[in-house]
């Protein structure tokens, strides 16, 4: 039976795994970053500090555009496309090749952040030993 201690994953490690999984799911992906609600980078491909700064600028500009904050944004340029999404207390920013399918990209990003949030909740509230795995009659 798995021990609760062995199932714990630090948010940074979970975010790294989530970003790697996102890269596997999206062949057009060039790079990306996952940030927490405060704007700190949990995982990124490349320079973490630059991702933090540039993602913060992007979200600041997006939030200034209207009275309410934007949930997701898509900027398509000649050089590539940028997708950003806030979900479940996390934010993901990715850069893809041109003509990436926006709906699929947002779907993958959303599911990745949802899984990440679930993983982090599990860390915060590790299940009790008796709750892990199917209970066996007569055990204990």
């Amino acid at each position: 039976m798995a021990d609760a201690a062995t199932t714990e994953v630090a948010p940074g490690d979970a975010a790294e795994a989530a970003l790697a999984f996102l890269g596997e799911m999206s062949p057009d992906l060039r790079g990306g970053a996952i940030l927490d609600a405060g704007g700190a980078v949990l995982a990124a491909s490349g320079d973490l500090e630059r991702w933090r700064e540039d993602a913060a600028v992007l979200f600041t500009v997006a939030d200034r555009a209207a009275e309410r904050p934007a949930e997701q944004l898509h900027v398509a340029t000649e050089q590539g496309e940028v997708f950003a999404l806030r979900h479940a207390g996390f934010a993901a920013v990715v850069v893809t090749e041109r003509f990436a399918l926006a709906s699929l990209m947002f779907f993958d990003m959303r599911s990745t952040l949802r899984d990440l949030a679930t993983a982090c909740r599990r860390v915060e509230n590790p299940p009790l030993a008796g709750e892990i795995g199917p209970s066996t009659p007569g055990e204990g």
């Binding site: 060039r30 790079g31 555009a65 209207a66 340029t77």
Partner: protein, 74 residues
Amino acid sequence: MPPKPHRVLLDRVSGYADEAAAYMRRRRVSRRPFARLYYPNGCSADHADDSTVGAELFVAAGRLIEVAGKRQKP
């Protein structure tokens, strides 16, 4: 004499592939840069690149594209 069944299938697949290629060509030609924001209530807003917000979004996106770099060829 009727064509062999696999020829029919090949022609059909080639036809679809040709149409898809033409669609992608048209899409590349017609698609212009854009910046689009989506809100929780399902609304979205486009920002032209000559607007203030649009220009700032394009600058911020350009910096992120620079950070991400080019994709490594497999």
